[in-house]
Symmetry: C2
Subunit: 413 residues, 2 copies
């Protein structure tokens, strides 16, 4: 992977130089598609993406036009297919062919379903491999499943500024391994795992591989089909801008689809749900992953956000993500290192997503100070300030300005 953005930041020593990068940004018009409050620098789009204007309009139309006037007829007029149509739309952003991706419930529920599905496909194997720095809900859900099924979790511990690396994974898996599950992009360090290599390591042990793409989708290229991933889930309210609590997606590799099951046999996962017939029989297609009535408002919002990402193109998004994070790292190195701030994300652009973790012993207080001054960032204990540089809405001057506010805080001025 080349580092297309690595050169752009090199000479940025003033705000004007950052502004010049914005002037030449091929994605600069996309920012206009979002509502952004004028008084904040928003560096938390990796946690909750901002509101697209088209989503505002679509939600009004959905609520007032469809629910308000079509009422129950809305189900036949498109709503019932949203899990599949939006799923395919997102699959298209992830290198997944049609028919393999559907929209479900929360990420936690989707993750539970697919992890359970994997274990059913590997009976007799007793171990699940994940890592101690995986996103909490993934760790907790796997703990619950392991306890309920009498399985054991093998906790990998990778370098904290990195994450799952294929050769270390290979050393942890074996004939007892049923399932390997990692985040593709670390929520903390932004480390991007090598999906193909890690998946291969899992497969060589005969295990299935479940990826969490919550911090990947809409920020870095993903090639689920090409990289041989078995299963994947991901969140849509981060870089897909689907809104607070928007529903998650589930992906299943085509070859696994006929045999994959899931534990929550709700009616919408059944063949011909509206027959309301006796006896559950899985739908033949990816709808078999569904359970209950789909959350239409959230799905309509995701549809808009994913559409914007699709129009911008993941390669351009990636290029800008690299450039923004390179700039942030360069400024930290040149202007903040003297104050005890250091970079806790990978320095190689090829294995770093669209956010940057920086550390400082007073990170908690500094985050509070930044937010008070209108720079919205995340604190991640014990000492991480997370700067989400969502490429569609973050300007180079935002990076400059935010880090100048941090510099002023550190300088006590």
């Amino acid at each position: 992977v080349s580092d297309p953005g690595a050169a752009v930041h090199a000479d940025v020593a003033t705000r004007e130089q950052a502004a010049a990068l914005d002037a030449n940004d091929p994605l600069r018009e996309f920012r206009e598609l979002f509502e952004l409050p004028p008084d904040v620098i928003y560096l938390d789009g990796n946690s909750l993406g901002p509101l697209p204007r088209s989503t505002r309009d679509r939600l009004r139309e959905l609520v007032e036009g469809e629910w308000g006037t079509r009422l129950i007829r809305g189900w036949d007029e498109g709503w019932i297919d949203l899990p599949v149509t939006v799923g395919d739309q997102i699959g298209g952003l992830l290198g997944a062919g049609p028919g393999q991706t559907v929209m479900g419930d929360s990420t936690s529920v989707c993750f539970y379903k697919l992890a359970s599905a994997a274990l059913e496909l590997r009976p007799g194997r007793s171990e699940i491999v994940t890592d101690v720095d995986n996103f909490p809900t993934d760790r907790y859900v796997l703990e619950g499943i392991a306890q309920q099924r009498g399985l054991e979790i093998v906790w990998a511990q990778f370098d904290r500024t990195r994450g799952p690396v294929a050769d270390e994974v290979a050393a942890l898996v074996g004939e007892r391994t049923a399932l390997v599950s990692f985040s593709h992009v670390s929520y903390r360090s932004a480390f991007v795992a090598d999906m193909a290599a890690v998946t291969r390591a899992a497969h060589e042990a005969g295990a299935l591989m479940l990826w969490d793409l919550s911090h990947s989708v809409g920020s870095v290229p993903v090639a689920l089909d090409a990289d041989g991933a078995d299963l994947a889930v991901g969140c849509t309210y981060k870089y897909l801008n689907g809104g607070p609590g928007a529903p998650a997606f589930m992906y299943v590799r085509r070859e696994l689809l006929p045999e994959v099951g899931q534990p929550i046999w709700g009616w919408l996962g059944r063949r011909d749900p509206f027959e309301m017939a006796p006896g559950y029989e899985s739908a033949a297609d990816a709808r078999r992953l569904l359970s209950g009535t789909p959350p239409v408002l959230g799905l309509a919002a995701v549809q808009q956000g994913a559409g914007i990402v699709s129009r911008a193109g993941i390669d351009r998004i990636r290029e800008k993500g690299i450039a923004l994070t390179e700039l942030a790292i360069a400024i930290v190195d040149s202007r903040l290192a003297d104050f005890g701030v250091s970079v806790a994300s990978p320095r190689e652009a090829s294995c770093r997503g669209a956010h940057v973790a920086i550390t400082h012993p007073d990170a908690r207080a500094l985050c509070a100070g930044l937010i008070e001054r209108g720079v919205i960032v995340d604190f991640r204990g014990p000492d991480v300030i997370r700067l989400g540089l969502s490429p569609l809405v973050t300007r180079y001057v935002d990076v400059w300005d935010a880090l100048e506010v941090l510099r002023a805080l550190l300088a006590g001025s």
Copy 2:
């Protein structure tokens, strides 16, 4: 239970008499709180309730004001508590004390969680009792759980126009019964089960009782605490008007709360989720039933709908529900019986919810004809037309007019 509405319909032989009932309806102003398209008679509020105007406004404010301008700060400014605050609000409509009801994912997922929770509390017992006419998703979810755990389902078969009756339930339960689960109001016949008596029958066998309140909440009084219910779930897009795919609620009896678990150990069910610490430990309170990030848009909508029900008062809603269904039955008997239409809902108002099932051999074609003529009803195979008479929005003249359209269809005119 008295039949307060039983008298009002007796003399209705003309549309003017129906209109007179509307003029005296103490709830008539509530209809103005909803968006209702002028060209339809909507008798499907038991499937998808119409849009409250306040919900339209609240969703605009939420999307444009909160998500649009507060962004991630919305979580600290109320969103994160919505599962609990809206849960308590709904609990208040169901005779549940505070702290026992939370909002979860879809009804299917909530049902799965609570059924699983019950089985964990009754280890060593091998049977689940439910009925063949229970709502499909409940049946399917229980089948899935039974298969995964090696349990057996005991399928009760009650009179189709009725539903679970305590003495018949008592004959089916025993020392092998872990869980008994029924719908409180039948989605088909509208039969209202005697919650106290059926729960007692389950308890006498040492089983736990899980009620599905999807067709009850907002339409008939429920007394969860007083009737000794252990667990309950229900849907919010029917009589609570929460919008398409709105999230469901879960109730747990206070005494069970400290010991109840659930299988999907997502981060929001953990004590101090934002610590992101190692190891899952259940929240001490009802949040332990939660899993993933809550669907904020749907929750905000439910909050509005439940607020309207609360202001109308369940006793007045019940009174009008009885009066509307009595009127429908009287008209069917007097004006449609000659065309082969008969009533498939209980005739005793005390055990009939807010919809009426009528049967005709050509029900499918008749439903299509009604919908074509702007009378929106449900078909339920093989021969049921379901008339949902949602008390807050349905007028007595709507019942009259809808059944006159049916009469014209049957008369071939």
